[in-house]
Amino acid sequence: MTPELRKNPPAPLAPVAFDIPKPYETTLENGLRVVLIENERLPLVSYRLAFTSGDINDPADATGMTSAMASMLTEGTEEFTSLQLAEKIERLGASISASASDDFTIVAASALSLYSTEVLHLLAEVVLRPTFPENELDLYRRNTIENLKFQRSQPGFLAGEQSARLIYGDHPYSKVSPKAADIEKLDRDMIVRFHATRLVPNNAMMIVVGDVQPDELISELNDVFGDWQRGSDITHKFDSPPVRNSRSLTIVDRPGSAQSNIVLCNLGVKRTDPDYFPLIVMNQVLGAGASSRIFMNLREEKGYTYGAYTRLEAKKLAGEFEATAEVRTAVTGDSLKEFFYELDRIRNEKVGDEELSDAKNFLTGVFPLRAETQEGLTNLIVNQHLYGLPADYLQTYREHINSVTADEVQRVAARLVRPDEMAIVIVGDAEEVLPQARAYADSLEIFDTEGIVQDEAKYVKTESEETANVAGKWKLVIDFQGQQLPVSLTLEQIEDNVTGSLETMLGNGEIADGKVTGNRLTAMAKAEMQGQGIEFTILGRIDGDTMTGTLTAPIVPDPLPFTGTRS
């Protein structure tokens, strides 16, 4: 091929039509809706018995009940123990799992279609005849409590916990996980009663996709679920999420964090919102993917992060818009600046034609990819039915995307992206984060990783403080992975500017760009060590003739703590 021909991307081949088949739907006598797609491509079958109540429908005095009940379904039934169930399912090469999300409870099973009958019987056994054995429940309680503790070591969990609280307030979407005390309270009688009232056919939908015969399947479903008794419908009223009218900053202090986990969020929309299509196109332009504006700016141009994205989470009753990134601590403030720049831009300027068509082409193009596996196709059908989307939703999805205009994108951006009332949540080293992020918000709160409020005075230096005098010779001891390394500093100070020199066992260097603010010293040192130029950042807190702080160098991943005295 000639260099000329290579210059431009090639034209596509003729498009190939793709349609998602419309399912066959029926309702059994006891009210159980059945949705079926016959799919003979490979000898596989997927079942989803989905219930339209989830974690938010927990009883007021029993947080965690729905998830506990779901997890316990496979831990013992009238016919089989927990071990027998696991062995029976896995010996077929199959899987059965049950879990609850905010809005739904789903029991999923998949297998080779050769075993479709056996797996359906096991699915019915765990849903209809679970016994919730006391010893298994006890184990569930203890393991869940341990996992709750473990989660608190994960920065992503800590950020999500705070953002949900700030966005949803008294609405139950605010609870991302139960507390240990909630779990301790769950007892067997409560779960047995709860199971009997919640897992009822009129609250459920059976979705089947796979290599099965429709007539045989309906008759098998009647066999296994025919005697399942109706129950009462489930209705709940919830408090509205709070109205926010200013920008807040919430820091979760995780001392020693190499990175800041940043979440910027505000209340979004529910899944059936009429603006849903323009909103997902807008979100695609702004930050949903690796070619969106936020990623291109924070990762590709600035190199602040491995990934930066926005997310539109639309649940049954409400939703959330959020922008997230994990950035290295030193660029926390710079990252906020770029985030707000992009959030303002999508509201204030109309998107260009090319950017708009790129976003639409992505969303319509990946649609068939999402239906490539039986799992993927099943998820599309399950979501359509659980959220009550129109019957032709999957068939008209691409048309709806293609009809979105630039004006609509700007209108819904102004509606959904609200920088002035966002909650900024940062999980990271509070002492480092606070001075960088404080100016971006109207209010501040700081928590530790256990969720206990901290006094901000612990992290803030007072403005009125006198500039400390750091001039003189300092002997510092650096803690490098348990080893004590001596470093000497000789500092000179003119007003708040600091210069000087540094001596280490490995080589010497000069200090430039030093500054004292209150009792804090910030300085860059350039040193020659074993033939290499290395830059250090020194952060120190001066208290008379002692100084404590950290030294950061590119060759070590985390700041090295030091203590020192003036001679």
Binding site: R6, L13, P43, L112, N143, A290, E300, R328, F362, I555
Partner: protein, 432 residues
């Protein structure tokens, strides 16, 4: 059951271009999508000392533009055509792949050929990607509890530098990488005769062949890369290490064994041992430790499949106050039992059905087919192994499993890494 079950065979067509590029076509038009995978025969095992992390840093550079594709244009072109894409680096290879609507096959081939022919290496791109890689290292390794344990145990298992060092590399070595290093690496390893191209999905075979010849045919070949020695003595490099993890909330441990290369009968048998020991809730260790003794919060295990000496791992995060040495005794007791008595008939039946189920499921997605085919083509020179691999695994007998456990796992030749939360490192967690 395996006698009655016929796995649908995949259509495989293979050929090579004059410049040495190996091409494999796998046509399946059930869904109008197409996946393209390019596998380069270079991974962290090819890195030299002082340049750890380089193969992975280079992978990032492959998204930074080439003669006709601007910086970050690769993402943009694929996404605006409605596709998804990525690249990954392992010890064995670096792969690049995209899945697109079927009509966009020419675009995928244009993009992959442009960067194979003419990668743009600039100081600015290198500096920027170096920072992105450092953030990836902080995110996935340094800032995660237990994030560094797999890199640490590889240093304990392997003696040969090619095998033992981490793929993410060290910050210091990343800083040392120069533009000249990147250019040299590209010339040596990113040549058509050091790569495999696989197309899987909905396409017309003659059209695909023409497109491949058009886009890749005139990319010059290069001399073969330097020979690589990944040989290992049988013994592990270190039996024990204690690691202070300041982010870990609980103590944990990881045990690793050095085992024979992938697709050897011994490796296949040990791969199946994993299904018996730690895969799923009916597995022996789940039933003993999570259920029976109720002593662990998390149990995990896996095999790391390499062309040279490979490894198998079992690890656990025990509950607070539980005796770690007792948990390890339980693990070794099950291993001993397996080496004495072999698997049960029920366990063999489970393995058989799970293998069949996994093989059928893998066939659903054009991307997973393309990736598996590419591995067989690159590592074994035979993409049709995708159709016989299931039989190879089904042929493993209980006796082979028993024997392999006895030789490789039921021994003192293992690496044990104890993770101690830095805050209570003074309280030693039992003997090892």
């Amino acid at each position: 059951m395996s006698e009655t079950f016929k796995l649908p065979l995949l259509e495989i067509e293979e050929f090579s271009l004059a410049n040495g590029l190996k091409v494999v076509l796998n046509r399946d038009d059930a869904i109008p999508v197409v996946s393209v995978a390019v596998y380069y025969n270079v991974g962290s095992r090819n890195e030299r000392e002082g340049r750890t992390g380089f193969a992975h840093l280079f992978e990032h550079m492959m998204f930074q533009g080439s003669e006709n594709v601007p910086k970050a244009g690769h993402f943009q072109h694929v996404m605006k055509a409605g596709g998804t894409m990525n690249g990954t680096t392992s010890s064995e290879r670096t792969n690049y792949y995209e899945t697109l609507p079927a009509s966009q096959l020419p675009l995928a081939l244009w993009l992959e050929s442009d960067r194979m022919r003419s990668l743009a290496v600039t100081q600015e791109n290198l500096d920027n990607q170096r920072e992105a890689v450092k953030e990836e290292k902080r995110l996935r390794y340094d800032n995660q509890p237990y994030g560094q344990i797999f890199d640490l145990i590889n240093e304990m298992i392997y003696k040969n530098f090619a095998n033992s060092h981490s793929t993410i590399g060290s910050m210091e070595h990343l800083d040392d990488a120069t533009v000249e290093d990147v250019q040299e690496f590209f010339r040596i390893y990113y040549a058509p005769d050091n790569a495999v191209l696989v197309i899987s999905g909905a396409f017309d075979s003659a059209t695909a062949k023409d497109l491949v010849e058009t886009y890749f045919g005139d990319i010059p070949s290069q001399p073969a890369p330097p020979l690589l020695d990944v040989s290992e003595p049988p013994e592990v490099a270190a039996n024990y290490k204690e690691w202070e993890d300041k982010l870990a909330p609980f103590p944990a441990f990881l045990i690793g064994w050095k085992i024979p290369p992938r697709r050897t009968p011994e490796f296949n048998a040990l791969f199946l041992v994993g299904k018996i020991l730690y895969d799923g809730e009916s597995s022996r260790l789940y039933q003993k430790l999570v259920k029976g003794d109720e002593s662990v919060i998390q149990l995990f295990g896996f095999t790391d499949e390499r062309r040279g000496p490979s490894s198998i791992f079992v690890g656990a995060i025990p509950k607070p106050e539980k005796d770690l040495s007792k948990i390890r005794e339980t693990i070794m007791h099950e291993i001993h039992d397996l080496s004495a008595h072999g698997p049960t008939a029920e366990e063999m039946e489970k393995i058989e059905n799970q293998l069949i189920n996994d093989s059928v499921r893998m066939r659903q997605s054009s991307m997973s087919r393309a990736q598996q085919i590419a591995e067989f083509a690159l590592y074994d020179g035979d993409p049709t192994l995708i159709n016989s691999q299931l039989d190879e695994l089904l042929a493993v007998t209980g006796d082979q499993i028993r024997h392999a456990v006895g030789v490789y796992l039921n021994t003192e030749n293992r690496a044990l890494l104890d993770v101690v939360p830095a805050t209570n490192s003074q309280q030693k967690q039992g003997a090892h």
